[in-house]
Symmetry: C2
């Protein structure tokens, strides 16, 4: 999609060198130099020679040393690995460049992360690279671990035990976080290599992503970024990975101000605007993770065999509660519960106790845990169902051998199932079942939330629907139960006026002449609204005229309203047109409803009104009775409360008037058992001193008054 | 706050009975009856007598049996524990009532969860309770575990090992989920009791919450609800707990349609509207959890000693990356990084290597891990700082003995620190350090996200600010960099017109007469806008008049605009007033900006315009170049995309016209290197066929053209 073109260097000789030189100041036991030499000599499969240069020529270790790179015997050296004090690094790099060594890895710290002096040193390296073509990896980094080819060009003492080789490529800047990912891939899906270039003076994350995109041994690229040195190169690298069909999973620190500052001070690079970064990742097909555990989980899911085939999931568990929780999370994530085929249902019916729940989510019951084979065959049957994209297996508690049994069944079924089977170990007690799943590479998720959020993220976007929210509160629900009766707006407003609730001055007119007269009496501008008990939502049928400025216009508007609404709703009896004072547009529109909730009795809802009702559904609820402090809390809890403060050109709203209005409305409704629901929308709230007014009211009464 | 008053039963004799009768059908080994008898006889401290009634009088177990409750010897029995087939339960219950036994626990299943026949049986129990005053717990439940008084009135084989007694009360409906919570409290904070009444035919969650609210041995109440039988009783119980100062942590299943259905079919009770439930929990001070692991974590945090004293957190870690990630999450959760006192800073300076980061977030460096005492003293110093509410210690990877060392330091410091010290074990490899923290009751969180989300939830609400979002994208950023120059709107529109981008017909007028003439020529209604290069945001200074309907009004509006804006902005040079065709309000207002991003080059932003810009910040970004499909994707990615479809009374927007407009604007800006930023807001998008028009344009040019 973009025309960005970048050249990426060929890193083959860096990642898998033949001849290597280590340049160090000391090889005494436990020094970083000694650890590097041990990794290279004892734990790597270096095909060529390992040279050691020790400029001070300290005889403190087992390896034969040369005094300088220039003094080395004739050999085609691919990489120089440098651990010297920062001040001595430039000399070594110049020697590398002079000898034509193509790559140098600088592990030493003391550069851009360490103040102005270090920054100057780092700039010298950058200049040298530009001038000579030498490519530098680092400084301030743990080195480079190529697990697949067993090349440990790293000071990490853990390299020797990093034996679970796989096809996930890891790109990081800092060391600790990369180690986290490597540890997360200890079983099952493993890492192919881990490139972590610290300050990225020259080579950096985009180069590594591009290298991995081109490396057939890497199937998934997991990236952790603190800073971004060059956004366009990153874009180009992501594009390249996409063109090669390699999923990239990326965690970018700096989504908050604190995070940006901390990342900058750690790596000295800028982080970029978080929302632009996220948009860019999405644009170029990278999957964004929001925490380390999610980064690891997403990489594992994307690494072959664990990607769901569709958004239709099956849940198999042995607890009704866990089944319900999993179903809940599936809905919240916009995923779906698969509809089983008759064959699957039949298989489950014949295999499980008759009190088991055999439709999705499946509750096999604790009884079924006694047969591992039976359980495995159920899992396989569900996974083989063509309607199922993946099987989620929540394990709510550790039941020792019983849950070890379900773990066996999962391992068994996962080995030859057509779809991914994803266990979720929900208990804090990590029993033998957990260990079995973990060591067999099934990497159980540790909570339903993380499991289903991760599944959602790896789902092809077209397959997802929006979150399947539970039926909302009063503001969003369809109002009228069968037997409820709506009052007309005029009748409702008359009731309100009588109860001391502010409604605008108005008059119901039954002819164009009456409308003109009413408008004249009220004063301009006025608003005209169709009056019909059958039309509770007037705007939807074009039944409102705002800002009518003269008696003539009012007469005309009357005729037009009656004609047009009559044509659209021939079923409705039109009682006339309500002419009302119009409030200026320096106010804001709110919503207040009170409804008899089947669960809690009267519930009051307050929120943004007018067009915001459908658009934002930004409301707060309280069970009655309430006090003024509750209403203030509700306002403070609104997501878009900024709308109520000083906003654009407007002063803040008359909040106290609104609070009092809500209290009066609450009393009004709760004192009248015949009222089933009252919806006031919009309520106009003016600037301080101008009050809060109910501009439209819908009151539903119930013939069969029922109080609990 | 509410006037709800409920009577709650005194459950003392149920929870801690003296004399108990077990009514069972069999006590053969491994039967539920045998497990219950074993729990009561071998693993409980029953002060009174244990009787066994076995109506069929099968001699299959070690306990002496009576044939019926009526036949029992004279004794004041507190509780009858019933495990019979469903069909026989009613007889036993009638016997209980007849003998005056106050409580019966029915563990058998086969009631409301099992179809119409079971529902009828359950109704019989309900009727009996109402008629006789017998209180029934169950049916379809695992019984009742009182850990504190060691009373295992449960069939759970795990009871014997539930030895970590504490002060958290657990209320559930289903069994598996309750076991999850008990296992989550295996170390450190423990459970006092677990009440789980399955189908809740009579006694239910509100009764248990109320009991625990009144029980001085319970400090925190952890509740998992699938259904809600009686919302008002639940409200009353939560009110009671609040009045007693006991935190209630609650997880309610049924936030999505799937979850509601699954929970209903599991427990046969209704779930209530999710948003109303959540509002009710907040209103009555309960902390809502969204997953099992969070429920456990919140209960532990609330259970004394681990509640943060303020929202100002300290981070202490040994990795710069982990420090940055923790800072990031703190900002995202609306929490704050504490500012250390000079004494704390001095302590850290003298204790840590000089390349450590000693301001918050603290990176002690891997070097510091070598001294457990030093580390513990740093943790203590930070925790003792008056500015710090809690200390978060992220551990990004397992480093065997090194991370066991930090675990020792945490255990050491936490024992006498003034504030909670909360470890976060981020690695999948759960090493000895993890085990140490876990077994010492420090319950490390397993990810930063869960840790900080939980901390946020237990924070007193007044202490929180909104999320500290990173500087947003173009739409929200302050536009003008120092040297950027804004064109006037007329100049900008002339450029656009020339580039073939639709702008409304308009004329710059320099007098009232010219304005009237322009309005006449354009046709009514028109809009008048102040023209001044110094006033890019006209609305904010009252510089716009909409819906001007006649030449006279146009002249008047001209005068008023020049006078009023001149008074508000005496610094600005006013070039005149732009008179433009006004579009009807059947369109929608969008925003399009293109900006030279320092990271990615040109970035285009599309979103909801007009007043929505500040209110919703609902925008999507893409790196240029883009194609039509990208723009469609951006629209599909907007959160409030409903606004663009058929909405209230309006048809959907002319989306294709808007897509083409965005492409033209993108080309227009990216082809002109002198343009630094172009903001078009609002862009009016009409119904299909009426096109998309740039109503206002702000173009910033840069004197020093710079292209990367």
């Amino acid at each position: 999609m973009t025309s960005t073109t970048c050249e990426f260097p060929d890193l083959a000789r860096l990642v898998r060198p033949r001849n290597v030189v280590v340049v160090l100041g000391s090889q005494r036991p436990n020094s970083e130099g000694a650890r590097l030499l041990e990794n290279l000599s004892a734990h790597s499969r270096l095909e060529g020679e390992l040279f050691v240069v020790n400029p001070p020529m300290r005889g403190d270790g087992p390896f034969r040393c040369w005094p300088s790179i220039a003094a080395l015997p004739d050999a085609d050296i691919d990489v120089a690995l440098i651990i010297l004090r920062a001040a001595h690094v430039m000399d070594a790099l110049r020697d590398c460049a002079a000898r034509g060594i193509p790559f140098a890895v600088v592990m030493s710290s003391g550069f851009a992360e360490a103040g102005p002096e270090g920054q100057a040193l780092q700039q010298e390296i950058a200049d040298l690279c530009r001038q000579t073509g030498l490519r530098v990896y680092g400084p301030n980094c743990p080195g480079l671990s190529n697990f697949r080819d067993r090349m440990g060009m790293t000071i990490s003492p853990a390299f020797k035990s990093d034996r679970n080789v796989g096809t996930i490529g890891i790109v990081t800047q800092g060391g600790g976080a990369g180690r986290n990912v490597v540890q997360g891939l200890s079983y099952g899906a493993g890492a192919a290599m881990w490139l972590s270039a610290g300050n990225e003076v020259d080579l950096g994350a985009p180069d590594f992503i591009a290298h991995m995109a081109n490396d057939p041994g890497v199937r998934v690229i997991a990236v952790l970024l603190e800073g971004i040195k060059d956004g366009r190169r990153l874009v180009a690298a992501l594009e390249l990975a996409r063109s090669r069909g390699k999923p990239v999973v990326i965690l970018k620190i700096g989504r908050s101000e604190y995070g940006m500052r901390a990342a900058q001070s750690h790596t000295g690079s800028i982080t970029g605007a978080a929302d632009v970064n996220s948009a860019m990742f999405a644009q170029f097909g990278a999957i964004e993770a929001h925490d380390m555990d999610e980064l690891v989980a997403l990489a594992r899911l994307a690494d072959g065999g664990r990607l769901p085939a569709s958004a239709d999931l099956a849940v198999v568990t042995f607890s009704g509660g866990a089944a319900a929780m999993a179903a809940d999370q599936i809905g919240l994530q916009g995923l779906r519960l698969a509809q089983f085929s008759p064959a699957t249902t039949e298989h489950l019916r014949t295999s499980l106790p008759d009190y088991a729940a055999i439709s999705n989510p499946v509750d096999v019951t604790a009884e079924a845990l006694k047969s591992i084979d039976g359980l495995a065959s159920c899992l396989r049957a569900v996974a083989d169902d063509p309607a199922v994209g993946a099987v989620v297996v929540p394990i709510p508690a550790d039941y020792a051998e019983l849950t070890d049994g379900i773990a066996r069944a999962i391992v068994d079924a996962a080995a030859d199932a057509a779809k991914p089977i994803l266990p979720v170990w929900m208990s804090r007690r990590l029993g033998t079942g957990f260990e079995r799943l973990e060591s067999q590479g099934l990497a159980p998720f540790l909570s339903l939330t993380t499991a289903l959020a991760a599944l959602r993220k790896v789902m092809p976007r077209g397959l997802l629907s929006g979150p399947d929210a539970a039926p909302g509160g009063p503001a969003c629900a369809e109002p009228a139960a069968a037997q409820a009766v709506a009052c007309t707006e005029s009748a409702a407003k008359a009731m309100l006026r009588e109860a001391g609730i502010p409604v605008p001055q108005g008059r119901l007119s039954r002819s164009a002449a009456e409308a003109a007269e009413a408008a004249q009496a009220i004063g301009f501008p006025v608003v005209l609204k169709i009056a019909s008990a059958q039309i509770p939502h007037k705007t939807e049928v074009g039944g409102v005229r705002l800002g009518v400025g003269s008696a003539g216009d009012a007469a005309e508007a009357y005729e037009a309203l009656v004609r047009q609404v009559g044509a659209r709703r021939p079923d409705a009896t039109i009682d006339g047109v309500l002419v009302e004072k119009m409030f200026h547009d320096g106010g804001r529109e709110m919503l207040v409803t009170v409804r008899a909730d089947p669960m809690y009795g009267h519930v009051v809802t307050v929120g943004l009104g007018g067009i915001f009702v459908e658009l934002l559904k930004d409301v707060a609820h309280r069970v009655l009775p309430i006090q003024a402090a509750d209403v203030r809390d509700m306002l403070a809890g609104l997501k878009h409360r900024a709308y109520l403060g000083a906003f654009r050109n407007l002063p803040p709203i008359d909040a106290e008037a609104f609070v009092q209005l809500v209290l009066r409305i609450s009393e009004f409704v709760s004192g009248r058992p015949e009222l089933r629901e009252a919806e006031f929308n919009p309520v106009w709230v003016g600037p301080p001193g101008e009050g809060a007014w109910v501009l439209d009211a819908l009151i539903l009464t119930s013939p069969d008054v029922e109080r609990r």
